[in-house]
Amino acid sequence: MRLLLVLLALLAAIAAPPARAQDEAAAREALAVLAAGNLDAMEPAIGTIARSGVPWAEPVLRGLLDGRLLARQADRAVFLRTPEGAILEVASGAPAEVEARALRPIRINNRLRRTLEGALGSLTLASPDRTVRLAAAEKLFARPDPSALEPLEAALAREADPAVRAAFARARAAVLLDHGEPGARAEAATGLAESPSPAVLGKLQAARRALPADVDPATVAALDAAIARVETRLRLLEFAQTFFQGVSLGSVLLLAAIGLAVTFGVMGVINMAHGEMVMLGAYATWAVQQAFRAFLPGALDWSLLAAAPAAFLLAGAAGWAIERGVISRLYGRPLETLLATFGISLILQQAVRLGIGATNREVVTPSWMSGFVEPVPGLALTTNRIVIVLFAVAVFLLLLALVRATRLGLEIRAVTQNRRMAETMGIRTPRVDALTFALGSGIAGIGGVALSQIDNVSPNLGQSYIVDSFIVVVFGGVGNLWGTFLGALTLGVVNKLLEPVAGAVLGKILVLLALILFIQRRPQGLFALRGRAAEA
């Protein structure tokens, strides 16, 4: 029994040394300093609290970092707000009876944020929550703190989870690389080279520079070898990254252009209001999110799923109205549709500007779409881009299936290929026209849902994509959905491959010029339609 107690005490000493009375008093004093809000005085105060060993150190520091540590203006008493919104006494953790309005969050700046993360890093290495331990290791890796070495090694010794172990090991290597003996540094460098990333490269280079002049050649060689290894791997990864960025840009272009591939590509309407359909889709996303905020705050993360059909319906209805009201009267005069739809685009933009406001609207990125994943160490792919690529492909396949395998699709194809023949076969062409245009507009609206995740939700949203959309459709070949798909991806990848060489602007200019020359070579785009329709 005594043995067990001793063991427990030892464990506790590693995780959090027990607080002595004077430490507790110092921590309370430090708390008052935090409440006073002088940013320069706060840094030592944070250190005092972190070292004091008081049980409330971790929640208080975490609260300070998250903006949940509150101070009462009148007497500088400090309270803690839980993520759920309850207000607690700091020391006891019991609910506090205070007027919430008299409390202000204690403000911090980046320097303090770093100090806090460092302090919390070693405090939370023993957390039962796996993600907290991982985050703590990440933070220590980013900002190696020699004083964290001991708790880190203790934590490494008792860690069972392999992923967390690896993270701890990397953090330990980072600490040793900066602060260890020459031999330990070389070993740490070799270890770190196994998980190449720009951050690792930066650390290795910095460590190489920091080596004293009289260090033994073996250490220097080990570091140099590690740097060379990481550099080679990174070059490969960089290419993969660029390629992914190209695919991602291509998918954005595809989403922007795919609706136009229907209204312009299939129907031949020079639809200058296409961009505004995309914009309507983005605003629908915003509106759905507002509704979720009001009625279903718990499901806010999933509002995008509801936004997609809403955007489709809104933009589709707008498209249907435009077709019935204006475009149906203009068939046989395709160039006139340019004029009318340009007018409609002006009206829609100004209507949104007056009705909703000229300023940007906020569309929240759901938590499952933020951050990035690393399928291979060093290759960071942002989650929202991956989702958008998958989404673009899904929308494309859906549209393809609709055109290939449904009754409506059959009728659309019939009307496109030979309107008079379709009419004589009993197809109600006006209805098909209206539905096709509504479909194209609705798909454009769905594109808007995705674009709301990466761009401004403003009345100008559509304008910034309209030229690119037309170029994609023409490049791919008017009237060919696969052409639009491949055209968008090609343009995206070529653009991104050129960008590191030529810069963003010159790259784009080069792509445009290449496109003009390409159209001279293949006047009907990547995939030419054959037959009479090609002369349109």
């Binding site: 129907m267 031949g268 020079i270 200058m272 204006v326 009267r329 203009l330 068939y331 046989g332 005069r333 395709p334 160039l335 006139e336 549709t337 340019l338 004029l339 009318a340 340009f342 007018g343 409609i344 685009s345 002006l346 009206i347 933009q349 100004q350 007056l354 009307v415 496109t416 290929q417 030979n418 309107r419 008079r420 026209d433 304008q463 309209i466 030229v467 037309f470 170029i471 023409v474 008017v478 009237g479 602007v505 010159l506 784009k508 200019i509 445009l512 010029l513 496109l515 003009i516 020359l517 159209i519 001279q520 070579r521 006047p523 009907q524 785009g525 009479r532 329709a533 002369e535 349109a536």
Partner: protein, 374 residues
């Protein structure tokens, strides 16, 4: 269709000439204070409209006659404007804010050490004038030759003209290009030794633009009556057929396209000193689409239509942006929709709607490609 029902062309030119002269007459001969006096401030405004009208006539040469819808004519206009702007910048000489003898202000404060080679020569008016003609002309010729040789037509051509003007816009936005970036060229002092802000110079520029418009109209009228004009109509209505009949359609199209680009460039050159600034947004794709809209509103393939369209749309813009600053886009957008629905032949088409003795010309049969919906 070919005569558009509007009287004798010579009479038309005289009419337009009289209308152009109305501005100086009302400005100079009618005493101030009279209800008919035209204020000095309106002279450059009408001058701007005239330049737009020339641009619209230039576009109608290719669109109305030859059926080539360019959505990139703003590029030629802006290039002409930049050539003139470079001349005007060089005229400032040491009177810039930094008092540098040669370099324009924007180069001085971005630490340019010497004048880029392509700015040489622009201190002389004849050279600048030659560039006003040659640069848009050469670009038009090369682009047209590439496009027409490989028989790019219809919407494909329209979209690559958009790509062209878009690429030029991005290029001119770059400060490294040495054309002043987004700020463009501005703060002009004088032209041919005349102070650019004086009412007399402004009236002179106005008249020069008026003369250019009359010239452009004369060219348009001549073209309508010439064999080349008839060949262009044949190309518009069936290029393959015209080609099979042994006509050199490439040469015909290329000639009228290059002519149109040069006219647009000249319009740009007269536009810049009257508005006082040239900036890459003149290259923007939307600006080029607007030109097509003036033509369509006025009446495509008519003599007066483009002129009327340019004056009406831009006049409404001037008036409504002051009178109804928040709602003018509804009015303008509504006008575009309405004109297409109700007046397919534009404003000039109203004349044809009036009762007349002559039997109405048969509506031309829709082209097969259009009838199938493309």
């Amino acid at each position: 269709m070919a005569r558009a029902g509007l009287g004798r062309p010579a009479l038309l030119l005289v009419l337009v000439g009289c209308a152009v002269l109305l501005v100086p007459v009302l400005n100079r001969l009618v005493p101030e204070g009279s209800a008919f006096h035209l204020e000095d401030r309106l002279v450059p405004l009408f001058g701007k409209y005239l330049a737009y009208a020339v641009l619209a006539v230039a576009l109608d040469l290719v669109w109305g006659r030859a059926g080539i819808l360019s959505l990139g004519h703003g590029a030629f206009f802006a290039l002409g404007g930049y050539a003139m702007g470079m001349y005007l910048m060089r005229q400032i000489g040491p009177r810039g804010v930094y008092a540098h003898p040669v370099l324009p202000d924007f180069m001085v404060f971005l630490n340019w050490q010497e004048l880029p080679w392509y700015w040489y020569g622009f201190d002389r008016f004849p050279f600048a004038l030659a560039m006003v003609v040659l640069v848009p002309g050469a670009l038009g010729f090369v682009f047209g030759w590439l496009a027409f040789r490989s028989r790019v037509s219809g919407v494909y051509l329209s979209i690559i003209t958009q790509a062209l003007t878009y690429a030029l816009m991005l290029a001119f936005f770059r400060n490294d290009m040495g054309f002043g970036g987004n700020n463009g060229l501005t703060d002009f002092k004088d032209i041919l030794g005349f102070p650019i802000a004086s009412p007399d110079t402004r009236l002179g520029l106005y008249l020069a633009t008026g003369v250019l418009l009359l010239l452009a109209l004369a060219v348009a009228i001549h073209l309508r009556r010439s064999p080349l004009g008839r060949l262009l109509v044949a190309i518009r209505d069936g290029e393959a057929r015209a080609r099979f009949l042994g006509h050199d359609t490439l040469r015909a199209k290329l000639f009228v396209w290059t002519l149109s680009a040069v006219l647009a460039g000249l319009a740009g050159a007269l536009y810049v000193p009257q508005v006082g600034i040239i900036n890459p947004s003149e290259f923007s794709p939307a600006a080029s689409i607007e030109i097509a809209i003036w033509v369509a509103v006025g009446g495509r393939d008519t003599i007066l239509g483009p002129v009327l369209g340019a004056f009406l749309v831009n006049g409404m813009k001037t008036w409504l942006t002051g009178a109804a600053p928040e709602l003018w886009l509804f009015v303008l957008g509504g006008l575009f929709v309405l004109v297409t629905l109700v007046l397919p032949k534009g404003l000039v088409g109203i004349v044809e709607l009036l009762p007349r003795r002559r039997a109405p010309a048969a509506e031309p049969a829709p082209r097969p490609a259009e009838a199938t919906g493309g």
